[in-house]
Each structure stands twice: as structure tokens, then as C-alpha cells.
């Protein structure tokens, strides 16, 4: 993190709206990737990002160390997405049937549907890591920092995630080959 970035985060924490809007510009896609990874729904993910930003603005003074600001934002988005995910799961079964977990995927091709159900079978953290990697093409160090993981943990997570998806999609993959 260079000095200008840190200065920007510091200003945002101290209530500089312009600095905070700059942070929104830079980080909202990352937050979206995290939320999408957990929720698998673009609309809900967008809502989560919006809510997270508002919440972050209101509680920005809780961050003592400006360096931790992006990780803190990511944590808010993750918790928020997780909350929404849980809320969705507690919706009565009949409603859930009609709304469905991935409503937009109803008409999508079989591969997509399989892919999404395989994704849904992964742990939340694995999904978030995958989306960060494939949405934002972030390198491993940045993803680890954003998700608050220890150094080198990501390779294992992504390895397991890919392997698990690969196993579920094996017949389809064979047909593609």
C-alpha cells in the first residue's frame, strides 16, 4: 500500500466524502465479487454492496488503522452477504420453490445450471475466493489480504474449490473435451 492510498483511506475514515467516494470507485467491484460469490445473484449482490457502503460510511470511525480499511470493507460485505444468504434460506419452502435460488438461470443452458449448482455446493469462503479471482483477476496475495487469509492459504482453497467443481462436472467436462 503506498502513501497516497493510505492517506486516502485516512481521509475517508476521518469523514472526507470525496475520499470515500474514491474508495467506492476503486473497491465496489471487489465487494461485488465477494457478495456475488456468496449469493450467486447479481441483484442481491448489488444491494449488498450498496448496504455495505452505507454501513461503512456510518461506522468508518471504528477503523483505527487506515491500512486495514479495504479488508474491513470486504469483511462488512461478506457479513452482509452472509446475512442475506441466511435470510433467504429461512424463507418458507413453498416460496423458495417459486423464487428459486437462482431464478435467472431457469432458462440457461444445462452447463450453466450444473456450474451454478456446483458453485452453490462450495463453502462461502471458497466461492468468494473464486469470484474475486475470476471477476477481478486479482493475484493471490491481494485476494488473501482482502479476505483476511494467511499468506499462502489461498492456493489450497482455490485448489480444493476447483477440484470439487471438477469432480461434480466431470461427465460434462468429458463431453466438452
Amino acid at each position: 500500500m503506498d502513501a497516497s492510498e493510505r492517506e486516502q483511506y485516512r481521509a475517508a475514515i476521518h469523514g472526507d466524502r470525496e475520499a470515500f467516494e474514491m474508495v467506492i470507485r476503486v473497491h465496489s467491484r471487489t465487494l461485488f465479487a465477494i457478495a456475488y460469490g456468496i449469493l450467486q445473484s447479481r441483484e442481491e449482490a448489488e444491494d449488498v454492496v450498496q448496504d455495505s457502503l452505507i454501513k461503512a460510511w456510518k461506522t468508518r470511525w471504528r477503523v483505527r488503522d487506515p491500512e486495514k480499511f479495504p479488508a474491513w470493507l470486504a469483511a462488512i460485505a461478506r457479513h452482509r452477504a452472509h446475512d442475506m444468504f441466511r435470510k433467504r434460506r429461512t424463507v418458507p419452502l413453498t416460496e423458495q420453490m417459486t423464487e428459486s435460488v437462482e431464478p435467472e438461470l431457469k432458462d440457461s443452458p444445462a452447463l450453466d445450471r450444473q456450474l451454478h449448482s456446483a458453485l452453490a455446493g462450495l463453502p462461502e469462503l471458497h466461492r468468494a475466493a473464486l469470484t474475486l479471482r475470476y471477476f477481478e483477476e486479482m493475484d493471490y496475495r491481494t485476494i488473501e489480504n482482502t479476505l483476511g487469509l494467511t499468506n499462502g492459504a489461498l492456493r489450497g482453497i482455490l485448489g480444493r474449490a476447483l477440484a470439487s467443481m471438477r469432480k461434480q462436472l466431470r461427465p460434462t467436462l468429458a463431453s466438452i473435451d
Partner: protein
Amino acid sequence: MATIHEEIDNWLAGDIHGELSDIERSALHTHLVECAACRKSHQETKTMNKILEETFTQEKPDPAFEQRMLSGFRSRSPQRSGLVKLLVDLMRLRAVQITAVAAILFAIVQVGRMITGENATALRGREHYLEDVQVSEVPAPASPPGQAGSLAKSDQLAAGRPKDMALRQSPPSPPATVEPAKVAQPGTSKTEAFAASPESFANAEEAGQSPVESSASPLVNRKLIRNATVELEIVRFDDAVQKITALANEERGYVSTTNSEKQANGKLRGQVVVKVLPENLDRLLQKVRSLGELKNQTLGTEDVTKAYFDTDARLKNAHVMEQRLIDMLKTKTGKVSDLLQVEKELGRVREEIEKMQGELKYWDSQVQFATVTIFLSEKDMEEPAAFLLKERTQLALYAPDVEKIYNDIKGLASPKVQITNAQLDRDYSGRVSARVSMLIAPEDSDAVVARVKGFGRVENFQVQTERIAQGGSGISENAKTKRDKVELNVTISREEQEQAFQQTSLRIRTSSVDKKAKELRNLTEKQSGRVRSSTFSRDPDGREMASVSLRVPMKNYSTLMQSLNSLGKVEDVSVQRQDRTGSQIDEASAPADISIQVYSQGNIVSSETGLIATLRRTLAQSAGAIMWSLRMIGVAIAFLAPWAVALLGAIWIVKRIRRARR
């Protein structure tokens, strides 16, 4: 590469995401060439990656996403207006938060005080007092307006509190309080005169007497007695008393009593009681404190309001009673005995009135003036007045006749030499020791000690001097030093018990032990030594041995040692000496112990080591060995036999069974 194979998933993920180092990548590819299963996984993972990339590209947010987020943020968290924003930002500062919490707490306390009505009584006793005095002065004609003025002034001065506070405290007649204060304004210049002249004290006293009438006023006022105690350490007592007197005058007070006491070391300690107007008390205390080092200070206020007004009410009743009794006497009807009864009653009532008036007067005087008791002590109070030089001498003597010397020392007793303790012990083994303690006048001490030393051999002599401070502690430059009586403790022991100055042990080989031992005794006596013990023994092999222990004075030691050579071959001479440091010892006459073993060689071959004896022993030992081996064989049989029997039995049974089958 077992690790790559086991963790192939992680390696493949790293590979397709370009997160492997060059070395890692080449290692992975080497493994992929070797391992078909991993190659398949690799292929699948690559396809998987491609699918994911394609799928997620579709799901990526559109380019307007950031703008939407921004506008959403702007609409949902509108910018605050200047003041609110400033306030909110301020509240986030830790210091501001703490201040706010403190302010809220303070406000709660204030509200609580207002509700419970506790607001002024305990905390502002001083203002109350002032206000009280002010009120009590109102109807007194003798009270000069200046005093009231000074009071009003001090009221403003002391607390910086608006006067309306005091007014609120006494709502029934506000004009009564305000008026004298107003009158006082032009008269303030008189206050100095009032304070300085003794007549003005008298005025003050009179003013103090008047509250009997003043208390008739319906005002709620308080009677508070203020007292203070100060403990100071000062350099010179008289100076301090003078200064205190000056300070008391300055503050319109006076010194009521002074007393002092001179310590043994010439330092003064005492007490000054100052009476001062209560409102000047704090100022006086502050000034007094600067006179010396403050050791202790107490400040007390006693509220006598209730008792005061109780007595006052009873006094009024008594006055009414008195008047009625007087009226009764004036009408003079009834029997003489009744009149006498009335007279008697009148006397009692008057006595009571006087008592109560006295009480009120006392309280008034107490309230009028605050009492400051100042305890003064001069610096270095603990400095000693004199020093006493105590000398203690320990003397240990060795003498051939303990009892004689014991009596000789006792014979020294005179008015200047007092024997405090004398003791002669003889234990069951006939050892005699004595102990004499005496006190000697300082001027004779040296001579007496020298005489006692001459009675025997001095083993130990110790002098201990101690300087004892009297009437204090520490050091003093001008305290006198006095020599106390010298204490002398003498222990007398028999020479026998004295430890040898030097110990020597040696062996002399000779053919005729008994004879040489006798010669040795003669030699010892010649050198004025003494044989302390002597033993003689002969063993069956014809070896003879004599042990002789003797003691000679050190001066004859070397002569004796030389003469020993004439007795035989001297061997194994060892000398041991313990030098006693720190004690005075007369080396020439100090005893030296010599223990000598005179011995002879026995038979070369003893009866026990001869040929026959050896043969006999050999036979006996071999017979013993045979017996021992026999015993061991018996033990082995006993050990193995049961198992052998059991094994044979088992074999027999097995054979029987086989035969029976066949």
C-alpha cells in the same frame, strides 16, 4: 514427487492462475509427464478454468456499476449541513466523548442535589456562617456598622457567590439582611480601626452578648463554631510567637493563651491559642503555615444551632415565668409559707436563667471568634541533650588455682569498685570456673583492670565502648559527653581447660617401650611440663605401645623436642597451631601439647600367620567350599524337580491319548 501428486489440486490451481514459480512449474510439468492420472486432472482443470472464465465474464457488473453505487451512496447518505457535521465529527473525538460524559454526570449530580435539597447545607457552611453572623448583628445597637460591612465584604470576597443566594436562604425578612450591608458600605474604612484597638474587641464581645435579643428575630440562622489546629515546626519558638501575635492583629484577632515548655536539650515546645473572626480564619491559617514546616492541620466546624435555639426558647419561657412570679409577689396575697415558696421558686428560675444566659454567651463567644490552636515545636526537637560513654571490658584469665584468684578479685571491692555479680562453679568432674562482674568508677578503671590482668594468664581481653545519646537521638554539636562507670566481666578458668597454643604429635620407635615411657616422663618434668595422660598396652604378638600426652610451656618446647631424639627413632612429626587473631596472648608461657606414641616392633611371624595355621585354614576353607556346593545342588534339585515331574506327567498323558486313538 509424492507431494505434488498428493496435492495436485493445489498445484494445478496455482498453475492455471499463473501463481507458480518457475521451479515449481517445471517440477509440476515433469510430474505431469510421468503421471497419467494427474495429466487427466490437469486437462479437466484447464477446461474448468475456461468454463469459469466464460461464465463469470457474463456475470461481471456492467460499466455503469460504480456510478450506480456512487449515486446510491449519495442519495442514501446525504451530506450533513455544516453545524451538524461539525458536531457529529466532534463527538467522534475521544477527548470530546470523555468531556461529554463528565458533563452529563455533573448535570445528573446537580439535578440530584436540586431534588434532594442538599444544595447548600454541608458544602457551603462558610457562606451560611457569614450570613448568620450578619443576621445576628442586625438588632444589636452596639454592633458597629463597620463590622457588618466587613462581613458583607468578606461574603463577596470569600466565595465570589452572588448575595442573592444568601437572601434566598432567608426569605422571611429580606430587608433585614440587606439593610446593614447597605449601611456598611460607607463604613468599611472603620474596619481596620475596629480590628486593631483592644476596645473594639470589647465591642465584639458586647456584640456577642446581644444575640439573646437578636435570636428573637424569626430568621433561620445558623450557629457554627469553627476551630482549627495547626502543628508547626519552627526554628525559634519566641520569634514564631511574636509573628503569630502580629498575624493575629493583622487579621483582627488576638492571642488568647500561650504556653511553652523547655526540653532537656534546650529546645522549646509550646502552644499558642489565637482567636480570630471566622471569616479571617482561612487567611490566618495560610499565613501561619508559612512560618515553619507544617506537620499537621485540622479544621473543624461544629453546628450548635439546634442546642442554641432550644436554650434560647427555654430562656424566654423562664423570663415569662420570672415575671409571673414577680407579679405574684407584688400582689402579696396568701399565706407567708406560700410567699416563701414563691420566693424560692423565683430564686430557682433566676438561677436557671443565669445558667442559660451563660451558656448562650459562651456559644456566642465561640461563634463570634474561631479558635486556632497552634502547636509549635522547634526544629531538631529530638537532638540529644548529652552523651554517655559506656565502656564494657571482657577479660578471660587462666590460672592454676581458680578459687584463690576469685577471692583475690573479690578482695578488690571498694566504694569505687562494686562487685555486681560473682559466681564460682564446680562441676561433677571437678572442673572449676568463676565469673566476676564489677562496675568501676571511670577514673579508677585502668588501674583496676591492670591489677586483675596480673592475677593470671590473660586469654582474652576485649574493650567495647558505646556512646549513648540521652534525651533524643542523632548527633548534636553542643551536647556534653560523660563517662559512665566501666563494666568489667572476668571469667577465670583452670589452666587445664586452656586450649593448647600448639599441638604436636609424633611416634618414637624403640625396643623397650615401658622404660622409654618412664624416661619421657622424667624429661617432661625437667622442662617444667606436665604429663596429662599416659597409657601402655601390649598385644599377643609382642608389640608394645605407650601413648603419652604432655603439656609444656612454649618456651621449653624446642628443648624438649630435641631431647626426645635420645629416646629412639622419632617418626611422623606433625605440628598444628591455630593462631588466635585479635586476642592478646603471652606466647612464651602459652601451653603446647605434645602427644607421643612410643612403640616397638612385634614378632615377625605371628602365631596366626605360621605354616601350620595356614594349612589348617586351607583345609577348613576347602571343606566349607564342598559343603557350599552340596547345598547349592540341593537347592537346584528343589528348584527343578516339580517342573520335571509335571513335564513327564504331561508327556505320559499325551502318549496315553495317542495310544488310545490308535
